[in-house]
Amino acid sequence: MNDMTNKWIGARTIRPDGADKVTGRAQYSADTTMPGMIWGKLLRSPHAHARIRSIDTSKAEALPGVKAVVTQKDIVEFALDKSVMLGIQDMRWMCRNVMAREKALFHGHPIAAVAAISEEVAAHACSLIEVDYEVLPHVIEIEDAIKPDAPILHEWNQFEGKPSNIAGTMVLKAGDIEKGFAEADIVVERTFTTRPVHQGYIEPHACTVSYAADGRVTIWSSSQGQFMVRAMTSLLTGIPQSNIRAIPAEIGGGFGAKTIIYLEPVAVMLSKKSGRPVKMVMTREEVQRATGPAPGSLSTVKIGAKKDGTIVAAQGTFYLQAGGLPGSPLRGPVGCSFAAYAIPNVLSVGYDVVSNRSKVAAYRAPGAPHGAFAAECVIDEIAQALGLDPLDMRLKNSAKAGDKAIYGPTFGAVTFKETIEAIKHHPHYRAPLDKAPRPGVKRGRGVASGFWYNAGGESSVQVNITEDGNVVVTTGHPDVGGSRASIANVVAELIGVDHARVNVMIGDTQTIGFSNLTGGSRVTFASAMVATAATEKVIGQLKERAAKIWGIEAEAVKWEDGMALPAGDNAGKFPPLSLKELAAKANEMGGPIGNQTQLNTTGADPGYATHCVDVEVDVDLGIVRVLRYTAAQDVGRALHPGYVEGQIQGGVVQGIGWALSEEYLYDAKGRVDNASFLDYRMPVCSDVPMIEPIMIEIPNPKHPQGVRGVGEAPIVPPLAAIANAVHDALGKRFYALPMSPPRVSARMDEAN
């Protein structure tokens, strides 16, 4: 069931959440209210690094209107010496992230929480909490945190036998790296830095929580996984999962960062103590200070190649910021930077570095853009030195089917070359570029590629035929990128009914089977797979019902265009039975028609992307603007092309912000100095051109519709593509992001 003649698969159907969103009816996290509800607020650390000697909440508790106060004593503690994992999250760090325990590890780290009759009273009560801090020296940047005399965040953490801020390492190798470099005709080694960047979702974290008198808890919040909300809240409060109903709200953006929680366990404990429903809503400032971001990085990449461009060795050393607690996404740069290339000798090493910043969270292809920025810029430099077209250099080195990936598995089909060819033959790459259109203005063009693993994993779906012969599909995944529309297309196609007759809903934790996070570019892959399996079983039931009505064998019935038909002349002559007719007879012919399917899905092949960008630089002011952007990606099968294009465009725009303008700025006291959308400069609409997506549809053979994850690969190439374009324009390479106007201007004033 996958070809271009499909009626609904591949159609740009009206999105099921669209009307609610444009009319303001959609219920986001902060939109739930309850009778008797009170407000929770967090007291946050005023210091970047401090030991907490004591917390006195008595004055806050005595303030009229205050109903409950929560500190770390109310959150389940996970001992430092024993790892308890939930997915990729270590609960030792999560319990200390939602509420500081021994130490405040960053400015803004939650110290205590108050629930009161209004936000104002709760905020006032927070100011009455007396915390005795022993203020400690702080450290923000990687370069400083790895110095031998750096302030140590966690005395118990040892690296190479000494207390250290390096909290973890990851090493991948292939071949013999020294031998590889010895064989090379050219070796280029460069060091790159990127700054932490926030996911920038418009919806701040928020939740409403009710702890009822019988001990049952209901949580309304948006996230990238209601089951994660339930499991993590359960672990941090000690309440069994069976008593926690996590209801997913519409989500106003997550981009990875809503794969963990901040507020829910705190709100649960406030609700439990007060006996009242509790609502907590972060301000934008709190979001910027204490949630996300993606790590900053310090990377050194060394690549050796033959004169013909064949890469013979690649070495990467990637330091990533973890924030105040361990856990940066090392597998991103370590595993992805060289994965798309067939390189015989590779050494890729990552270091997880803690410093006094908010704990990093996943952000679209976590860690992969950092690594690709370094690797793809070095490849560009080598191609230039060898006089090769940078796309030809990539074509020459593409991994192929049967190659062993640096991160373990053996590749099936590798569709990297197709993305390179798509750019190479696109009019954009061939269009002439006037490199000096006006005095003081320079233009340049750059390309880069990217790789992301993609993922499968657990997914549950319920497909029910309603009594009036329509279809309700319930999935367990929050919809962040069009999964509802995509699933509706698949189910409508399979059953053969109009798309408008299929209503796709998102179930809560107590009404649908376990479904893992919406992340890793996995949800459309996994949910389409389970929805296909469930729908096929439903069609089987429909055929059985028709067979029963006609008194023939079920195998003698076929299903076409939403109707049961005799499979051939031998089956007998019967008028077709429509879905509506079968639904009307369902109960007398055996009961309700429906199926729940739950699978741990596999077969998610990697995503490949190649991008081309033209930039224009205002040389005197140092302003870089993107003029034209074309992004080619193997998307497998675009179940809903509008959403797939949106994923590619969204990833590119975030990459543009990362490359040119976004960064966390800290003051001398270790406080974020730009905790607002005004001074944390994400691109606005007028900053970016129309991003032209090229969807290459090479069906993934391991998926019923050929789906391949698309959400993450598009943020991997832009950093390097833009840096390479700026080099083409100015003749200077930039090894540090963002290429903001003051930086570009300073670089232009440097002697060559």
């Binding site: 209004s118 104002e120 009273v121 006032h124 005197d620 002011l621 140092g622 302003i623 603007r625 303008s661 700025l665 100095d673 730009n674 005004l678 001074d679 400069r681 691109p683 606005v684 007028s686 900053d687 903001s740 106007p741 003051p742 201007s745 300073a746 004033d749």
Partner: protein, 289 residues
């Protein structure tokens, strides 16, 4: 929690009376696009808010018989943009005012608020200074006039006396051959705050500059009138040497800080670049008038 008193007087005398009576605990509300944000962020906690938009003079645009134009301090940006003649006489002032905030903010934000907010980066202020605008101020001691550049005292502070309210801006009559312009450097294309802002007003005769004023924003604790830059332009044909001298004067006038919006070195450099670009636009406009 403390209550806030809101008053909306219909005369200036009442407004001044209420403002003076509150002895520092009141804030003036025009468009509110700074005040409400500051209140929300807990930066200010006024006991009284005095809404001046009900006072006719504060929202009037008047063309005086001698060619001057008087703008009420609370006139929102969109109203100025819709005025049939203001933008023709003062395109630079108008473009500066219309850079304050988004479309929605434009419906509320006023030049009076922009000036009294005291931000060194206020967009309308360098353009108003370049225009030679004079503000009318009314307070407990009566009415007085002061040049725009005399109003700011430092970030968030003005030289207004206690109880004084800015009532109007008066822009001088425009001789033939005049043009003005305002440019700012922002990292984004919109929704941003000036890293440097530059206003230039020129009057030219036969290709020679006969009068010039230059206002420079976001490079010092207050928006600056750069008289040396004007001097470098007056009498010139805007040749490269004159422009470079004016740019050098702008750079010399800068006393910026390193902050999240720009470095000292960058701001100083940009001040010179913007002077040249702004002067070129003003000259082109002067040539067309």
């Amino acid at each position: 929690m403390t209550d806030i008193r809101y008053v909306a007087p219909s005369t200036l005398e009442e407004a001044v009376g209420a403002f003076a009576a509150a002895s520092g605990a009141a804030r003036i509300l025009a468009g509110g696009t700074d005040l409400l944000v500051q209140m929300r962020n807990g930066v200010v906690k006024p006991g009284t808010i005095i809404d001046i938009k009900k006072i006719a003079e504060m929202t009037a645009i008047e063309e005086l018989p001698d060619g001057r134009i008087r703008i009420g301090a609370a006139v929102p940006g969109v109203v100025l943009a819709e005025h049939p003649r203001f933008g023709k006489a003062w395109p630079g002032v108008l473009e500066a005012i219309n850079l304050i905030g988004s479309k929605q903010v434009q419906g509320r934000a006023s030049p009076g608020g922009n000036l009294c907010n005291g931000s060194p980066a206020g967009d309308s202020v360098p353009a108003m200074i370049a225009a030679g605008a004079v503000v009318t101020v009314q307070g407990p001691g009566g009415r007085r006039e002061m040049p725009v550049e005399a109003v700011p005292a430092g970030p968030g502070r003005t030289n207004l006396a206690p109880g004084e309210i800015v009532v109007a801006f008066t822009l001088p009559a425009r001789p033939k051959g005049s043009g003005d312009a305002y440019l700012r450097m922002i990292p984004r294309t919109e929704m941003d705050i000036a890293v440097v802002g530059c206003g230039v007003s020129l009057t030219m005769a036969g290709g020679v500059v006969t009068a010039a004023r230059v206002g420079l924003g976001a490079v010092a604790p207050t928006v600056l009138l750069v008289e040396d830059a004007a001097k470098a332009l007056i009498g010139s044909r805007l040749d490269d040497a004159a422009l470079e001298a004016a740019a050098a004067a702008c750079r010399a006038a800068c006393k910026p800080i390193n902050d999240k919006r720009g470095t000292i070195a960058y701001r100083i450099k940009v001040a010179g670049v913007l002077l040249k670009r702004t002067a070129a636009i003003a000259a082109a406009r002067a040539g067309g008038n």
